[in-house]
Structures are given as C-alpha cells and as structure tokens.
Amino acid sequence: MDWRQLWEICSAPDNVPIVGLIPLLAFYIYLAWKQAHANDVLIEQLEGDAALAKTHHRKTWPFKPGWQKEVHVWPFLLRIEFLAAIIVTIILMVWSITLNAPLEEPANPNLTMNPAKAPWYFLGLQEMLVYFDPWIAGVVMPTMIIIGLMVIPYIDTNPLGSGYYTWKQRKFSIGTFLFGFIILWIAMIIIGTFIRGPGWQWFWPGQTWDHNRLIYEVNRDLPDIFGITSNMAKAIFGAIVVGGYYLLGGFVVYSLFRRYMGKDFKRMSLLQFGITQFLLLTMVALPLKMGLRLLWHIKYVWITPWFNI
C-alpha cells in the first residue's frame, strides 16, 4: 500500500473538488432519500385512507388550520439567500487561502505529460476513450448525453412526483437517472481520477504509479473470435450484432415496460417509447462494452472500412 501515492493523487489541487464532491453527493443523496421515504410513507397512508386524503394538506411537514400558506420573500427567503452568499464566500476564501491553484511548467509541446488528464469533470469522457474510438467517446456520446438530458421531460410521461421527493412513484426514472449520473458519470470520473495512472493504465488506489510498467494485452475483435476474416463479412457480422442488440434489447425493454410499467407505457406515444428504448439501450451499451473489454479483451464489435465500434 503506497499511501504517499494515494495522498499525491487526492491532494493534487485540481483533484480536490472531486474528493470533496463524493461526501457532498453522499450527503445530498441521504437528504433526498430521507424526504422521499417520508413522502412515500405519507402517500401509502393517504392511499389507504380516502377520507384523510381529502382533508390532509399532503405534506410531511406540520400544517395547522389558520397558518398562512405563504410567507413574505422579504425577509424569509432573502435572509437565507444572504446567509448562503456569506457562507459560500467564507468557504471560498478559506479554500483560496489554504490551497493554491495549480501551475505547472510552461506549456511545452515536446514534453508530453504522462498521464495527460483532462479536467476532472471531463475524466468520465476520457475514460470512455478506452472502450470506444474517439468519435464515439468524444463526440457522439457527449452529444447523446446532452440530447438525452434534454428529451427527459418529453419522454417521462409519469405525472406523479412533480414537485416532491419520492421513490415509489418514480422508481424507473429515478433509478435510470441514478444509474446514469452515479455509475456512468461520477464513477467513471472516479476511475479516471484515482485509478488511471501513467499510460492510462489501471493502478488500484494505493498502488505505486510505475512509469515503466508494460502490459502485454492482446485485444481481439469480436469477429476474430468467430473466425471471420474477410472485411466484408466482418462489416456484416458487426452490423448484425449491433443491430441485433438494439432489436433484441428493444424487445426486452418493451416486454419489461408492458409488464411492470403498464400505465406509463399506455401514456407513451410510439415516438416517446422509441426514443426511450434507444437511449436506454445506448446507456446500457457503455457498461456492456466496458465488460467486454475488461473481462474478455474484446476491442471492437463492428469493424468497417470507415468506422469501428
């Protein structure tokens, strides 16, 4: 266990934000979960008691008749904003006094940094470069993430859970978002920050970064395993595999939706459902491809003269 190595990674000034983000995220997940749980208990209670549901104010916080439903922004909100501004300023001041912004040597195109890492918030994308060619990891995936985020309000047809924390009413959407945000985004950043060392090789936390380490890995392509040699056959084979993944996966998504989310499925138009299927399968494809690479050393699934996937 090389504690010094671990400390050097964690204390690198530009890594401090991600080190800080982890407990912060844990805290806010806890805060959200606590409220979601309380709301879920209330929902269950109200669903079992129609009379109470009619009179209850439908929040977990106390409310008594005669209490005003609204409060003045001045001072009740503004004082909180003022306090928040002061606290943020103090945190920022203390942080800026105790920790200096990094400054390396002057830029030198002839001296490559190893590892050359992007800023921490982009390390998830950089980590994806291991599993996909740059045009997917660097261009298509980020575009899909942005578009995927933007279509969320238009494909989530569930009217429940608007304006309050809940888990039971939105299991699928919250589960999907947590998977995307925590597993595919944050965890990838953590891998990129703490685990990737020189040569973008895998070093477990606490393992010394060995700049001379060589790894003899033979990566194969999926068509090779099936003994396919001609280029034409490889292209067709890959198209079948990838197309098959989306067709078969699409069917699985459909049968799961029909079975477990019948109401949501009923509300969705064909376009909404199609987009959901596609985005969901693309999202799941990332860890699948990671698994293929890490466990079976498979580099490409689909090889064509123009692009490889």
Binding site: G20, L25, K59, N100, M113, Y154
Partner: protein, 307 residues
C-alpha cells in the same frame, strides 16, 4: 430698513450691505436649524425618497414593495409557499451557482487587468499574479476554486431538479435551458483551463480537442471525414484552435470564448432561465403529494401550479 439718504432720497450701498448682514443673521441660522431638523430623519429628504420609493415600516405592504420595487430583487415573487424556503427541498444550489457566477465575473474582470492572451506573456502574467500583484494569488485561487464549485453546483442543482420531478409539465422548456447552461458552464471551465498556458492546461486542451479530430464528417480522423475532404488544416478542430496545434491562436480563441463569447451567451440563457422559473409558476415545490388514483386526472384549483 436702511434709512433714506436725506441728501437725494436714495439708499446708500453701505446701508444695503448692513441691511443684508442683519437679515442673514436671522435667515441662515433659521435655515441651518431647519436643515439639522431635516437630517434627523434622512428618509424624508428628496435624495432618499427619489431612490427608495416606499416606506420601511414593517407592514405587509412594505415587505412586498421591498421586493417588487427593487430591480435586483423583483426576480422573486412578493410571497412564496411557506415550505419553499426549506433548505432541504431546494438545497439552494441554483442560487449558489448563480452567486458563484457573479464571483467569477468579478474576479475574472480583475484578472483580465493583469493578463495578456499571448504566448510570450500569458505564463509570465500568471507568475506575476502569483508573486507580485497585491492579492494576486488569492484572486487567481478564488477564480479557480469558484469555477470548480460552480461545476459542482450545477450538477447538484440538476440532480435536485431531477429528483423532485421539477422538469415535468409545465417546466420542460426550462429544464432544456438548464441543460444548455450546464454545457456552457463546462465550456467556460474548459476554455479557462488553457489560459495559464502551463503544461496542465496545454495537455488537457490537447487531449480535449484531439477528440474533435474524430468528429464524424467534420473531423479529418472521424468516420467519413477524409471522404469529405477533411484535413488537419480545414476540419472542425482547426476551427476551434485556429490552427492545427494548440498554440498562440488557440490561446487567443479560448481567451475570447472564455471572457466574452460564452459569458454573454450564458448570461442571456440565465436571464431566460430565471424568467421562466417565475413564468412557469415559481419554484416547483414542495408540492402536495399526488396519489396514484389522481395520476391521469388534470389538477385543478389552487393545487394546480404546485400550490
């Protein structure tokens, strides 16, 4: 009254002056007294009333006016849901992100006084800031860390908005503006990364823009790129960097995007974002919980807009 000159019936100059002095002895103290009386309550002065349009006694009307008659505060409604001020609901992340943007603008403008976006001077300017400019080090540190905090703030804000389902009807469009703001926040941070012109920024931007080489159709290494005549000297990466390598033009371009281009676009989007928060019915909650049985019935009455 000055006495008439017995010789020609006219008032002499000396007498007039004497007379004025007499009058002044009465007038000025009287005015001074009035002035001092007036200053005892400065809220009644013309200057004060021209600036502040309403009284500040603690009445509901004045509380509302305090928000509504102030250009910076009138972004807020006069009153909000009693539960909406709970920290546990909003986490305050949207506001904190905006506050960090203000800090970044402020520290950024100050940094611009000391920084030249040229290969010769950029790195030296940062050294100069670190070692010679009074408070230069803390200025740079604050700008750097506020930028990182802003990225975190945007992510947590988005996370909260998702978990509370606040992107749902009628706030779909504002969620989209928010996604664009996320992108611009990351781009602001990324363009700033190159500016110190050190190894860290140089290689981070090299790695980042190398991906642009691989853009399908538009990058010279991307699928179908070479078929469309893309070379390292005319593809999308060339456009981003102003050259085929990260050099002087790239530094200038990222400086201009960082200090002028993106902040303007982001500011405009922020205006729309905040405006839409109000127009879409204020902050989304905490709304009364809905039951499964009510899911497909349209909401009516006071509960319609999240109460």
């Amino acid at each position: 009254m000055a006495e008439e000159n017995p010789k020609n019936g006219k008032v002499g100059l000396v007498d007039r002056v004497k007379d004025d002095i007499q009058a002044m002895k009465v007038d000025i103290p009287a005015k001074a007294k009035e002035q001092i009386e007036g200053l005892k309550d400065p809220t009644k002065t013309q200057v004060y009333t021209s600036i502040f349009r309403h009284k500040h006694d603690d009445t509901p009307r004045n509380r509302a006016l305090g928000v509504l008659s102030n250009v910076f505060l009138h972004l807020h409604p006069a009153k909000i849901n009693r539960d909406a001020v709970r920290y546990s609901y909003t986490w305050g992340m949207g506001g904190i992100t905006f506050f960090l943007f203000i800090i970044l603008t402020y520290t950024g403008v100050l940094l611009m006084f000391y920084y030249h976006p040229s290969k010769v001077q950029a790195f030296r300017d940062v050294l100069y800031l670190e070692h010679d400019v009074p408070f230069g080090k803390i200025l740079r540190n604050m700008h750097r860390w506020a930028a990182h905090l802003m990225v975190i703030g945007v992510w947590l804000h988005m996370f909260r908005v998702f978990l509370t389902g606040s992107y749902k009807k009628p706030r779909e469009f504002n969620w989209n503006i928010g996604v664009l703001l996320l992108v611009f926040t990351l781009l602001l941070s990324f363009t700033g990364y190159l500016l110190p012109d050190d190894q860290l920024g140089f290689w981070a931007v090299t790695v980042g823009t190398n991906m642009a080489r691989a853009t399908p159709l538009l990058g010279h290494e991307g699928p179908f790129g070479s078929m469309l005549g893309m070379t390292p000297y005319n593809d999308v990466r060339f456009g981003l960097l102003g050259g085929s390598i990260v050099d002087a033009n790239a530094l200038l371009r990222s400086y201009i995007w960082h200090c002028i281009g993106i902040p303007i676009v982001a500011s405009i989007l922020m205006i729309v974002h905040f405006w839409r928060v109000r127009k879409d019915g204020g902050i989304s909650g905490p709304a009364p919980v809905m039951l499964e049985a009510e899911a497909d019935k349209p909401r009516r009455g006071p509960k319609a807009a999240g109460e």
